[in-house]
């Protein structure tokens, strides 16, 4: 059977630097789903930190670089909601006035997908998820509100899911917010962690590494039993890699 889907993986800076296991899991899932996966080398950062800090100049430069590195592929898949949303929603806006790239930005937006959304809605792929341990899902705000990612990861994780209360309330990461407004960010993390723990589940899956690192770090500081993994790792059956911020066995 010939694979008709050529996918470029846009790794995202956090996954690239801090959690390669999530990227390898994403590659495995895409290949198992029947895709040919390329990882364009000219990718670094989608430019969101610059964009959200008000630095449109650098954000545009990074957007241009990203667009050029991805524009030739059929699909672009991103293991992170906020970066996928940056490409899909904010690139066209940011580059609307750029005669050379406005069209390319719009085109790229049309073929960029968050990982679980792509697997579920485009590839209709459901991996066999082993294990019976309960999982609670950490929705990321940009994934949820900018990309309507809510049902897709849950459909793929199946009956292991237990819902946490007020799941649509922000965890307090917010990019640079988490270090600029530390006390508020930490208070928001604590509220979220208490609600995650109240489900009785130990395993927390999420699609955005920033949120996961922020909560895993706070949970570790509070000596909580919760374990945080990228949803790609769970779907790909990776149970060897230590959870985020967890000790190596």
């Amino acid at each position: 059977m010939t694979t008709s889907h050529t996918v470029a993986l846009f790794v995202t800076c956090l996954v690239d630097l801090f959690r390669p296991s999530a990227a390898f899991a994403a590659v495995k899932l895409l290949q198992d789903a029947g895709c040919t996966v390329s990882v364009p080398q000219a990718q670094t950062c989608c430019g969101q930190p610059a964009y959200n800090s008000g630095d449109k100049k650098n954000a545009s430069a990074l957007a241009a670089q990203t667009i050029r590195s991805l524009m030739d592929y059929d699909y672009v898949v991103v293991p992170g909601g906020s970066c996928a949303a940056m490409i899909k929603h904010h690139y066209p806006e940011l580059l609307a006035g750029d005669a050379a790239l406005a069209g390319a930005a719009r085109a790229l937006a049309g073929k960029t997908h968050e990982l679980t959304q792509f697997l579920h809605e485009v590839m209709h792929y459901k991996p066999a998820v082993s294990g019976g341990e309960k999982i609670t899902y950490l929705d990321s705000c940009s994934g949820l509100r900018e990309l309507t990612i809510k049902d897709q990861p849950r459909a793929m994780l199946g009956s292991r899911i237990v819902e946490n209360q007020d799941s649509e309330t922000c965890c307090g990461f917010g990019g640079t917010f988490c270090v600029k407004y530390t006390s508020v960010s930490t208070a928001m993390a604590d509220k979220k962690l208490d609600r995650l723990a109240a489900t009785g589940a130990v395993l927390v899956a999420g699609g955005d590494l920033g949120c996961l690192m922020h909560l895993a770090g706070r949970a570790a500081r509070r000596d909580m039993k919760l374990q945080f993994r990228h949803v790609a790792e769970i779907l790909a059956g990776d149970d060897q890699t230590p959870a985020i911020a967890a000790e190596e066995k």
Partner: protein
């Protein structure tokens, strides 16, 4: 708490340690969410109505000068007067002039955020005129000598015990010697005291949720009836409102009213929605003899021409702050300004300047909940981002932050260098973590590690591994 937006971080830290405040905010957060969800369930057309409400406001803004002319003409036709004020000082002086013209000693006030914005109360007091807040929440904070912490529930930050103490201290000299602890008794005490004030006041000042161009009417929305008592009994009724409150017709007002109460408190309609048009008519059984509308610009006309124009659609429902996790952690006083929460984070830099208020639009995770619940579709995160951009371009943001950002962006635009540095850096960090998986402390990462452990990287970064072909691809 410092009354300055730049102190947001310090104010918020203080707020988080205030157990009473956190209890009050927790109760509010739970209550608002439930009520709004229930109300929206009961109106399937809600989202469509919000789209129409936004369109009505947009239309008005595009023809604001003409609508204001029409409104003014209708107020005149009904026997009222209109006063135009470019800024807060003009508004204060106009109101003082009207009060003096009738030798006013006491002025009852319905809740008005615009009156708060122009600093009306201290100004009247300085001129020997006593303003008396009648909205229970405003009355409470008037006694406490604090500003409002929420645009709908000004005393949201107070616990019942705190209100008991306040009333006991201030009402005892008036003959209420026993400290009341039940909410019902406290309300009853306030009612008894304020009742007298309504009937002897010379002037009543209200705000306006809407100004109806078709009829020259001002509209207020309350649950208590205090705004009504304020404007029926005194000889003079003054309405203070900002210019963007115009709504074309009664039909348009109906659409906006449908989304207002639902968004604010989850009610079908507020208990009292009142349309006031001019002074009493000849032969009327009661009503004021004079009707004045004080129209305030104070920066709105300038907003109309720029990237922040959409903020002028705001109908002051408070839904954004009710649903904002930052507001619900820090409370309204942390913002150090008249307006708070997401709408305050946008409006304050516009009214007070980016230099003074830039901390507010940065105090957001851009979770987007505010935009989701705004009944007039204001893209609050986008507006905040624009304000961040204005701060950045004017080099108002901290130099250290700009430096790190510039460095990151510079390296990120050089993929080979980025991957090499990233690979080396992550390998080193992974080694330093020594299998523990995290750092309790890292140099230059104090903002993170002060309260969180920092997850260690796994080793060399993914891009470098991929480039070396460590994993086979078919």
């Amino acid at each position: 708490m410092q009354r300055h937006p730049a102190a947001f971080n310090a104010n918020a830290a203080e707020a988080l340690l205030d157990a009473d405040l956190q209890a009050a905010l927790g109760a509010a957060e739970a209550g608002f969410g439930v009520k709004r969800r229930k109300a929206i369930q009961g109106l399937p057309e809600f989202e469509a109505l919000c789209d129409q409400a936004a369109a009505i406001k947009d239309h008005v803004l595009d023809h604001l000068d003409v609508y204001l002319q029409r409104f003014e003409a209708q107020v005149f036709a009904a026997g009222g007067m209109v006063h135009w004020c470019e800024d807060a000082q003009q508004a204060r002086e106009v109101i003082l002039k009207i009060c003096r013209s009738v030798n006013a000693k006491t002025v009852t006030k319905g809740k008005s955020m615009v009156a708060e914005e122009v600093g009306l109360n201290p100004f009247l007091e300085a001129h020997n005129i006593r303003p008396i807040e009648t909205d229970l929440g405003e009355y409470i904070i008037q006694l406490a000598e604090e500003p409002p912490s929420h645009i709908i529930g000004p005393a949201l930050h107070k616990t019942k015990d705190q209100v008991s103490d306040l009333f006991h201290a201030h009402h005892a000299p008036l003959g209420f010697t026993e400290r009341q602890s039940s909410g019902e008794a406290l309300v009853g005490e306030a009612r008894a005291i304020l009742r007298q004030k309504y009937l002897v006041a010379d002037v009543g000042v209200t705000g306006a949720n809407f100004l109806i161009a078709e009829t020259g009417s001002t509209v207020i929305v309350t649950n208590e009836g205090n705004g009504d008592m304020t404007q029926i009994f005194p000889r003079v009724h003054i309405v203070i409102a900002s210019i963007e409150k115009i709504v074309p017709t009664l039909e348009d007002a109906a659409t906006l009213l449908r989304v207002l109460a639902r968004s604010a408190t989850g009610q079908e309609m507020s208990v009292y929605t009142t349309f006031s048009t001019g002074p009493k008519r000849r032969g009327d059984a009661d009503g004021p003899e004079q009707f004045h509308v004080v129209l305030l610009d104070n920066g709105r006309s300038a907003m109309l021409g720029g990237a922040q124009r959409d903020m002028l659609r705001c109908i002051r429902c408070g839904a954004c702050m009710n649903n904002c996790p930052v507001y619900m952690a820090a409370g309204g006083h942390a913002y150090g300004a008249t307006y708070m929460g997401p709408m305050g984070a946008v409006l304050t830099p516009n009214l007070e300047g980016v230099k003074r208020a830039q901390a507010l639009p940065f105090a957001s995770t851009f979770c987007g909940k505010c935009e989701t619940v705004c009944p007039v579709r204001i893209p609050l995160p986008k507006l905040m981002r624009e304000l961040r951009s204005a701060a950045h371009m004017a080099r108002l943001t901290p130099a250290r932050e700009r430096l790190w950002l510039a460095l990151w962006s510079w390296v990120a635009q050089r993929p080979e260098l980025y991957h090499r540095l990233g690979g080396a850096g992550m390998r080193i960090l992974a080694m330093l973590a020594r299998g523990k998986g995290r750092f309790g402390w890292l140099p230059l990462a104090g903002g993170w590690t002060g309260t969180r452990d920092f997850p260690a990287p796994q080793g060399e970064n993914f891009m470098a591994q991929w480039a070396r072909g460590e994993k086979d691809t078919p």
